[in-house]
């Protein structure tokens, strides 16, 4: 076990009896390999007991829950929590996760805003025919009641972007008790959020943070009724047949530009879709399909993205994500391998921007594909990496399938109608909208509440 740095941030597990400093602690290192925090890892036995306590816990009233989440929003954005000011928190996310600090700061504000609007957000998912309570007068004549599918909800979080933590508090709003397993790459945000929720009035047995090693991860899902799991294609496959798990897999978000639209008027939005938020999100654009010659767009994208400097993540001007050099090199090698047969406008050596302290910025990559069916357009990597392909009417919807978000720059309403109707496209944005646009009350990958809730008939004499 590594000896802890004396000033390392102490991140306890947040169990049903309060913060727990485990004997088994993981040194969380920053992108330069220096210990930055010490994360308590709990064993399956601890997970099991915590989830049992969550199951037994009382559920605060609906209005009380919404009030507490609103208070937590303010604390999350402004208070000193676990000894960290908001600025110190942002620095931790940035140094450890490699996320540009401006992204962390804007996400902190966005999470707070989403928490304040949580009631509005979950209400959007309630079927119009359903009421909240069994004793609503409408049920006397027979009515649907919107009820939880379980009581304990587990989240296996990822470390790519802090924004994902704006989603699961919706489960708390709906009356679930929630346990979050943080990623080693970004334990700060869920720790801060759970701490804020507890400070705002949620009990230790109502919302928990359970860091575990890889082998223990299953214990979390086993002890919960429903789970949300972030991961790659393997995770999606693994839970495909499990109705109790909602997998969040690759986003493979895309932009389509048809011949009746001049991409030059939308270059800002295209660049932003690729590299905004550090380019690490499932909602960042992985592929752009252009009706016509993709060359000029590639040239323009490459010119814009090549001008962005490589900076340490805590620099206010940083744009690209930063990783330990070894990780960055592995990603670069993987990209090089996958890019075989494509035309690199920005790629190869240009992807790595060494910062000088053992870390490297992952700079934008722009590759041109020679066909809409080229398999590379599905290769999503955790940095701004875009594949630009030609698109034809004959190719049709095929290459546009399997997209979390698709921004369509087109005046063709029939095409838009087909995109909206396509089952494997999650969200369709028409016009000058970045693929990473998200708003409270709009579904992300469907509404989370669609998964958490169901309707039940109640009829009373």
């Amino acid at each position: 076990m590594a000896r802890p740095r004396p000033d390392a941030v102490r991140l306890d597990a947040l169990g049903a009896l309060g913060p727990y400093r485990a004997r088994n602690r993981l040194a969380v290192t920053d992108v330069a390999g220096r210990e930055y925090a010490e994360l308590s890892l709990v064993p399956p036995l601890f997970v099991d007991r915590t989830l049992k306590a969550l199951r037994r816990a009382a559920v605060p009233g609906h209005d009380e829950r919404i009030g507490m989440i609103g208070r937590a929003a303010g604390l999350f954005a402004t208070a000193e929590l676990n000894g960290l000011t908001p600025d110190e928190y942002a620095l931790g996310v940035s140094r450890v996760g490699g996320t540009p600090i401006s992204v962390v700061r804007s996400t902190m504000a966005a999470i707070a805003a989403r928490l304040r609007e949580v009631q509005h957000a979950v209400e959007q998912a309630r079927p119009t025919g359903a009421v909240h309570r069994w004793d609503d007068p409408l049920t006397r004549a027979g009515r649907a009641v919107w009820v939880r599918r379980g009581s304990v909800f587990a989240v296996h979080a990822a470390g790519n972007h802090p924004g994902q933590h704006s989603l699961w508090p919706e489960a708390l709003a709906l009356g679930y008790r929630v346990a979050v397993r943080p990623s080693r790459r970004e334990p700060f945000t869920p720790h801060r959020l759970v701490t804020a929720l507890r400070a705002a009035g949620f009990g230790n047995d109502q919302v928990a943070l359970l860091p575990t090693d890889h082998g223990t991860a299953d214990a979390l899902l086993r002890g919960a009724d429903l789970g949300l799991v972030y991961g790659g294609e393997d995770v999606v496959r693994r839970y495909a047949g499990d109705p109790s798990v909602l997998p969040q897999g690759p986003g493979r978000s895309k932009i389509l530009i048809t011949g009746d639209v001049d991409w030059r008027a939308h270059l800002d939005v295209i660049v932003d879709s690729v590299s905004g938020h550090g380019g690490t999100g499932c909602v960042n654009t992985t592929a752009v399909f252009v009706e016509g010659d993709p060359g000029p767009l590639c040239a323009a994208l490459a010119e814009r993205l090549a001008a962005v400097p490589s900076l340490p993540p805590e620099d206010p001007a940083a744009v690209f994500p930063v990783q330990p050099l070894a990780t960055a090199k592995a990603l670069q090698a993987h990209l090089l391998h996958r890019a075989t047969g494509t035309r690199a406008w920005l790629g190869g050596e240009q992807v790595l921007g060494e910062v000088g302290d053992g870390s490297a910025a992952l700079r934008a990559a722009v590759h041109q594909l020679d066909s809409p069916e080229a398999p590379q357009s599905a290769v999503e990597l955790p940095f701004p990496c875009v594949w630009v392909a030609p698109w034809t009417r004959e190719a049709g919807l095929g290459p546009l399938r399997d997209s979390l978000v698709l921004t369509a720059l087109t005046h063709d309403d029939a095409l838009v109608a087909a995109l909206v109707q396509e089952p494997t496209i999650g969200n369709v944005y028409v016009g000058d909208q970045p693929t990473h646009r998200m708003r409270s009350g709009l579904p992300h990958d469907g509404y989370l509440a669609e998964f958490l809730m169901r309707c039940k008939s109640v009829i009373r004499d």
Binding site: M1, L45, D48, Y230, E233, D234
Partner: protein
């Protein structure tokens, strides 16, 4: 065979031989043409030194090569020292886990079993295990030596031993094949069988592996049964992490004695938890020195790490019944000072290497 060597190897169980004297006596026994085993007498020919003259001290054991892998193929009867005569009192032939390929075999002889039991029963007394209790064992059986030690411990320290079948090789095979659900079902089947015994018999001592203890504790009715009846739990076979151990001692089984064993087929027994340590000292294991000794080493150099540092566990077994020096176990441990006058090291915090996330996944943003 000079009489003195046999004397040293045959000391009464309560008397510990001086470590270097034991080594010299053991060299005369295991490499004496009339007393050594066919395996070692044959093997001696290819050693670049003479065990009879060059191995004088406990530290000299490191001259030997690690022959553990050869125990996969050698006929078991060739491991019995000839000095036991034509009718050696063989308790049984036992095998290692078989996790990495074919299992390794050892022969358990009666005199060593009795010696080991005497020592381990005293260790249980020191932890406050009640004498004369009925025992229940959820431990590997069949070719696994721990099952034999369970039966004999129950019979000598306790009264009746209740057993069930447990085949860890099948569980490992299921897990390796990704059949997690089948492995779970098998483990639950084991716990179901234990439940029948716990409900109907007056079990005072439970011997169990940590994964099964965890499953048992997960069922609240069984945890209540344990709390109402079982006075001591002896765990071993795999490791118990310090946080789970703390939870058992403070929250789950607060009034039950918890005592660990760190065992291995290749040492023909196990090391016992050191009693009376303060809670935060963790779980320290002392082997039955000088017969069984540990050294915590850097696996690259096989040289000892400093006290308090992590390394791999190197094990020597030196008794009349068996000789196996320099066996490098796969476990990592912290090196701890042994009790005064004992050769070798004590070990603590035995653990496999942990991984937090799958580092090889590259595609996708998560």
């Amino acid at each position: 065979m000079p009489q003195s060597a046999l004397d040293v190897l045959d000391l009464p169980p309560g008397v510990r031989p001086e470590p270097d004297e034991l080594i010299r006596a053991a060299m005369r026994w295991h490499f004496g043409p009339d007393t050594g085993s066919p395996f070692w007498l044959e093997r001696a020919g290819s050693l670049p030194f003479d065990p009879l003259t060059d191995v004088r001290t406990h530290d000299d054991l490191t001259l030997f090569p690690d022959v553990t892998a050869e125990l996969r193929d050698v006929p078991a009867r060739d491991l019995i020292p000839r000095g036991y005569g034509s009718g050696p009192d063989v308790v049984g032939v036992f095998e290692s886990g078989g996790t990495t390929g074919a299992p390794k075999r050892v022969v358990l002889l009666r005199d060593w079993l009795e010696r080991m039991l005497h020592w381990s029963n005293l260790n249980l007394d020191a932890h406050g295990f009640p004498r004369g209790a009925d025992w229940l064992g959820l431990v590997p059986t069949g070719p696994h030596i721990v099952g034999e030690y369970f039966r004999r411990s129950a019979a000598t320290h306790g009264r009746q031993g209740f057993t069930l079948d447990l085949d860890p090789r099948w569980v490992k095979k299921l897990i390796a094949a990704g059949r997690r659900a089948d492995a779970d079902a098998y483990a639950e089947h084991i716990v179901d069988q234990a439940a029948f015994v716990l409900r109907t018999q007056d079990i005072g001592v439970l011997t169990i592996t940590p994964p099964l203890l965890e499953r048992l504790a997960r069922r609240e009715d069984l945890a209540d049964l344990v709390n109402s009846r079982v006075r001591a739990i002896r765990w071993g076979g795999t490791q118990l992490d310090p946080d789970s151990r703390h939870l058992y001692k403070t929250e789950i089984f607060p009034d039950t004695v918890l005592c660990g064993n760190y065992g291995s087929t290749m040492i023909l027994g196990f090391a016992g938890e050191r009693p009376d340590l303060p809670e935060e000292a963790g779980c320290v294991f002392d082997p039955y020195s000088p017969y069984v000794t540990f050294r915590v080493v850097d696996p690259a150099t096989r040289l000892p790490v400093g006290y308090g540092e992590r390394g791999r566990v190197l094990v020597h077994h030196v008794s009349k019944a068996f000789f196996l020096p320099n066996n490098l176990e796969r476990d990592l441990a912290t090196r701890v000072e042994p009790p005064a006058g004992h050769a070798g090291d004590a070990v603590a915090d035995i653990a496999p290497v942990t991984t937090f996330e799958n580092e090889t996944v590259i595609e996708g943003v998560y």
